[in-house]
């Protein structure tokens, strides 16, 4: 039997967009998200380029749209475990991990604070830790704490079991959904810096990734938005950006990650706005600022304290005494090799599809990098960065386009 419903896998910006756009046409949509909250990668960003506006602004509207639309049914801490059937009638098994907390909004802040367990906060890319009972994202949606049982101490356990709204025994659930079409919007993950051995392999404290920089600049981040060196919490005076950290490199990611040039220019603005005397150097192969972004690039590059240098960074090293970072730079234009010292270095790490190494239980063709390149004939459509590296605006476009294909698939039958 054919089915009019649509499944969207991934609750980041592309997935939310695909789900809402299809739902507002009138279709029932199930949105399945692995994390405890919707919003995905963009929630970790401080601002978007080129407007330098906060991602939570658009997400707030998206969440309002979800709240008002009974056609959207979403599941968090949920993953697709199995898919069977064909275009027009799929049976999808979804596993939902236990959240252990009340199904409604309860302010557990004091309780969470009192727990002794502590674990690395993945949302902050290791720049902070968190309690086992947590809301780690800004403007969390759904606005409900999650409990990470593995991080609890014995005393935490005792304390929590006394709270009637917390169910430590809650088990994983399995549900089955019937849908006619599937949108895959599983997004991307930052490329693993430990693989970038010549760039410090993530072991140099003051050599951070661009996503860590976003967290440092975010008001809700580990430093409340003050950009400070991780080693000593001091304001950096001289910062370098190393472009194509992993991207455009046969040994890592063969493609260009689309956003990193614009992201570094944007982050240079964060730096320069916070520290009017700071110097910024961006080392690049090509500065890719396509289309109307040209205007933004022009504005940012006009700053005389910002230097863009065409050159390859061959090596990153730590200065043991000062924790400064030494870059060995091959300046392509001057033709020389030099060593430059910085207080802090930002690696413009690329985006890798989330599905690289961890494919979905779906029969769709993927390329060698983990991007989805097929599925249309099966009523399965990739959206956003599951398909190719894109910025947010193009991801929203892609999510809307995928919604159209999904709608066509369920309507045609």
């Amino acid at each position: 039997m054919s089915n009019n419903s649509i499944l969207v896998i991934g609750g980041g910006f592309s997935g939310i967009t695909a789900a809402l756009e299809a739902a507002e046409v009138g279709h029932e949509v199930y949105l399945v998200e692995k994390a405890p909250f919707l919003g995905g990668r963009v929630m970790q960003l401080n601002k978007y380029f080129p407007k330098l506006c906060p991602p939570s602004c658009g997400l707030e509207i998206q969440f309002q749209r979800i709240k008002k639309n009974p056609n959207v049914k979403f599941f968090t801490m949920a993953e697709v475990a199995a898919v069977s059937g064909e275009a027009g009638s799929y049976e999808v098994t979804v596993k939902i991990k236990p959240r252990h907390t009340a199904p409604n909004n309860v302010d557990y802040s004091k309780l969470a604070e009192s727990l002794t367990g502590e674990t690395e906060n993945a949302f902050e890319f290791g720049l902070a830790s968190r309690k086992p009972l947590y809301v780690d994202v800004p403007f969390a949606f759904p606005s409900r704490y999650a409990l990470d049982g593995s991080a609890l101490s014995d005393s935490d356990r005792a304390k929590l079991s006394a709270d009637e709204t917390i169910d430590l025994e809650e088990q994983e659930k399995e549900i089955t959904l019937s849908v006619g079409s599937i949108v895959v919007a599983t997004g991307w993950k930052p490329y693993d810096v430990t693989k970038l051995t010549n760039l410090g392999a993530g072991e140099i404290t003051n050599c951070i990734s661009n996503m860590q920089m976003e967290r440092l600049a975010s008001a809700n981040g580990p430093t409340s938005g003050h950009i400070l060196r991780p080693s000593d919490g001091k304001p950096p005076k001289r910062v370098a950006f190393v472009q194509c950290a992993g991207s455009r490199d046969e040994n890592h990611l063969g493609y260009c990650s689309y956003i990193c040039c614009m992201a570094s220019l944007k982050q240079a603005v964060y730096m320069r706005e916070q520290y009017p005397d700071a110097e910024v150097v961006v080392y690049y192969i090509d500065l890719r600022t396509p289309g109307r972004y040209d205007k933004f690039a022009e504005k940012v590059l006009a700053d005389d304290k910002l230097k863009a240098v065409k050159g390859k960074v061959a090596e990153v090293a730590r200065d043991k005494a000062s924790e400064d970072v030494w870059l060995t730079v091959e300046d392509a234009i001057e033709g020389n090799k030099s060593k430059e010292r910085f207080d802090m270095v930002v690696l413009a790490t690329g985006m890798q599809p989330s599905l690289a190494g961890t494919p979905l239980p779906l029969d769709v063709e993927m390329d060698e990098e983990g991007f989805i390149i097929g599925g249309e004939d099966k009523g399965i459509f990739a959206a956003g960065c599951a398909k190719q590296p894109l910025d947010v605006m193009k991801s929203a476009q892609s999510g809307t386009g995928a919604a159209m294909k999904a709608v066509q698939t369920v309507r045609r039958r």
């Binding site: 602004c57 809700n220 493609y255 689309y258 890719r288 193009k394 476009q397 386009g401 919604a403």
Partner: protein
């Protein structure tokens, strides 16, 4: 109108800091039977809590629900009792208890409620009651929608949109100005690869799309045709299309504008030799030669062997940039027209700028790579040079770039042009500053190819020919140098004309692959809009809202403020100057309501009387010394209000003397509210809204900006009353400024308190 309100307090979220019995007692005394049920529940957002409320509704004891507890932004599903039950949520947790800053600096103690906290909570509860009393369940106005979608432009994007809309079950009318379909794609010899593995250029396949469109019985094609007029509203547009000079009137549901681009003016290419040296051609001209089957030098018709593709412009555009900058700084006096009386103005301004050339950088780069690779097809011993500053091939096109580099017939040099001159016998000598070697080199080429700038059709013509009171074209296209783009990163399809969605190169320069996705997206939005109209629901950002502005025209003075200010051009005017609403054009922001001096405009669940009545619930002490000053804050519900919630959650506190009322948009703020607040003795009024200006963040585009403009009038009114104008201020708050906004409030409160009491206090 709510007549029997159930008032429910959630103890679990108020933490025992409020004296709920005392509040209940006051409410009962004040409102009597209007509050048919007043109850406190230990945990209202629970199955039991919900069941209790539902039972009271079912029994007819209550007809509306007022929940006093956490912010309305949480637990929406628990407190949804169907579309026919009005629910209000009084935010006593975040914006009252959590953010309470004790005037004497004391910590809150369980079981002891400071007077200032009690006063604030009681004001908010009273506001919640009166808000429901002054609201009715909105009744949707259904626009019986025509299901046909009009696609303007029969190029790659338009063809794709038409096919997509047809596949989704809609009839399509496709209007193409040329005699043949295919647009720019049909003029292309090949395209860069559109799919994995992104290695080889190939024919575009536009012929297949054309054939599919022609074979599709849902799609009607008009070629040599032009839209001459578009009137009406989503679901009920009327398009007049001139086909071979004969006019046809067509009923249309929604519109996709995919009118593409035209080649930019060659004057910007003059410094690069175009026009003076005949063998300097544009990429579009080169493509046409390839399509025709032969690359021929304009001077002698010979097939060139050495062709240079020049992408690095160096400083050659600088004089244009400077001239434009100077012109922008000294704008010409606008010519005063006396067509104010005309119902439809022409709001179109042509945009001519050198910037279209750099905006085309991505297309210029991939096109150069593609064409450099063609050359050997036409000249086996051919050698191409690409001179570039930044190879603009973001994302997957990097793979094509890599493949193109493998061709020994293509040489890439990073550099930029410093001079172009005649090399004799038609040759062109290009002097390049080589960025990698650091020296100037000269290359003699048989032919030089320069990029073709893409200029959106909307930079040159109003295209839409809208018969709207605010004009024929999309407004504010200057912001994007003529591109019919959205200013929202999150919402790329949002335009200022509901039901009309742009796709393809009229929106941004883009490749065929991107345009294909874009076309599908725009088609979805077009389908969604006409179906939403058919359900009587708003589209983005208040998607699903059934309320809409209604007009009590008897009191209208034809001042035209509403028709002029509506950010979406939803209101037309009749011959007397009365507003003529077009419900499905409307986005429900309430800007018209805010503009109206006569309070003619209202929503069922949001109106001037309602908010005015809420303001009257602020119990202003006669003396500042006895109970403190009072300040009204009107906060944008999309950004400032969530920021305040977030601030409270993060432990920030602010003055207990402010009372916050969320508004749909600052554009909806009617100055009477401020006058009411001030004449009642409130000491100040703070409007918190989104950033405006070029990078505006207002979800209704103009709301916060219009509000700011109205502040002048408000200041004047205050001046007449003898009230200091600084008592009323608007501030811009982004949603992520949660750590700043409490300080902004406190600073405002401190400054106004210094002024002393509002002179009207106590009257």
């Amino acid at each position: 109108m709510a007549e029997k309100i159930g008032l429910y307090f959630d103890e679990s979220s108020l933490g025992g800091f409020l004296d709920l019995e005392k509040i209940a007692e006051s409410v009962k005394n004040k409102w009597g039977d209007l509050c048919a049920v007043i109850e406190t529940h230990p945990r209202l957002a629970s199955a039991d809590g919900k069941a209790k409320i539902q039972a009271a509704l079912d029994a007819g004891t209550i007809d509306a629900v007022c929940v006093c507890g956490p912010t309305p932004r949480v637990d929406w599903e628990f407190f949804d009792f169907g579309e026919n039950v009005l629910v209000d949520r009084v935010n006593l947790r975040e914006q009252c208890v959590l953010s309470y800053l004790d005037p004497d600096g004391r910590e809150l103690v369980l079981g002891q409620t400071p007077e200032a906290l009690h006063a604030m909570a009681l004001d908010y509860v009273n506001m919640g009651v009166v808000k429901l009393q002054k609201a009715t369940v909105p009744e949707a106005e259904i626009v019986e929608s025509v299901k046909t979608i009009l696609v303007l432009g029969g190029g790659w994007t338009g063809l794709t949109s038409a096919l997509d809309a047809a596949k989704a079950g809609h009839d399509v009318v496709l209007v193409e100005k040329e005699a043949a379909l295919g647009g720019a794609a049909a003029k292309m010899y090949k395209t860069i690869p559109l799919a994995h593995p992104y290695e080889k250029a190939h024919p575009t396949g536009v012929e297949d799309k054309i054939a599919a469109v022609q074979a599709d019985e849902r799609i009607t094609v008009f070629t040599s045709a032009k839209l001459t007029s578009l009137s009406g509203m989503p679901g009920k547009f009327e398009a007049v299309v001139s086909v071979n000079k004969e006019e046809q009137t067509l009923p249309i549901g929604s519109v996709i504008i995919a009118t593409g681009w035209t080649a930019g003016s060659n004057e910007y290419l003059k410094p690069l030799g175009y026009g003076t040296l005949k063998n300097v051609v544009t990429a579009a001209e080169f493509e046409a030669m390839a399509k025709a089957g032969r690359i021929a030098r304009p001077t002698d018709g010979e097939t060139p062997e050495k062709v240079m593709f020049l992408l690095g412009f160096g400083d050659s555009l600088l004089p244009f940039a400077e001239a434009e900058k100077a012109a922008a700084e000294n704008p010409e006096e606008p010519v005063k027209s006396d067509d104010d009386e005309e119902v439809v103005k022409d709001n179109f301004h042509a945009v001519k700028t050198y910037r279209h050339l750099p905006y085309t950088s991505e297309l210029a780069s991939v096109t150069a790579l593609k064409q450099a690779n063609y050359l050997q097809e036409f000249c086996p011993q051919g050698q191409s040079y690409i001179v570039y500053e930044h190879m603009m091939v973001p994302g997957v096109n990097e793979l094509y770039y890599k493949a193109a580099q493998d061709n020994p017939g293509v040489m890439l040099t990073k550099g930029f042009v410093v001079g172009v001159r005649d090399g004799g016998s038609g040759d062109v000598v290009v002097n390049i500053k080589d960025s990698l070697l650091g020296e100037n080199i000269e290359i003699k080429a048989d032919m030089v190819v320069l990029p073709t700038a893409m200029v959106p059709t909307t930079a040159q013509d109003s295209v839409l020919k809208l018969q709207y009171r605010q004009g024929q074209a999309f407004p504010d296209l200057e912001l994007f140098d003529g591109f019919a783009d959205s200013n929202y990163i999150c919402f790329p399809y949002e335009t200022r004309r509901t039901g009309i969605y742009a796709a393809g190169c009229v929106r941004q320069p883009m490749t065929l692959a991107t345009a294909e996705v874009d076309a599908a997206g725009a088609a979805l939005k077009a389908v969604q809009c006409l179906e939403s109209s058919n359900r009587g629901m708003a589209v983005h950002p208040r998607s699903g809202d059934r309320s809409y502005p209604r007009f009590n025209l008897l009191r209208c003075t034809q001042c035209k403020r509403c028709t002029e200010e509506c950010p979406f051009g939803a209101l037309d005017e009749d011959e007397k100057g009365n507003p003529v609403p077009n419900v499905s054009r409307c986005r429900r922001c309430g800007t018209c309501m805010g503009a109206c001096p006569e309070r003619v405009i209202f929503f069922d669940d949001y109106n001037v009387d309602q908010i005015g009545s809420m303001i009257k619930q602020i119990d202003v002490p006669d003396e500042i010394e006895e109970g403190g000053p009072r300040f009204l804050i009107l906060a944008c519900e999309n950004d400032a209000y969530p920021a305040l919630d977030m601030a409270a959650i993060r432990g920030k506190k602010w003055s207990p003397y402010v009372r916050i009322i969320p508004v749909r948009c600052l554009g909806s703020v009617n100055s009477i509210w401020i006058a009411d607040a001030m004449s009642k003795g409130n000491d100040g009024c703070l409007l918190l809204g989104c950033k405006y200006g070029e990078d505006y963040q207002c979800h209704f585009v103009k709301g916060s900006e219009l509000c700011n403009r109205r502040m002048d009038n408000i200041g004047e009114t205050l001046g007449k009353l003898g009230i200091e104008t600084e008592r009323v201020q608007q501030m811009q708050v982004a949603i992520d400024e949660y750590d700043k906004v409490p300080g902004m409030i406190d600073e405002f409160v401190a400054k106004i308190t210094e002024l002393g009491p509002n002179p009207f206090k106590g009257y």
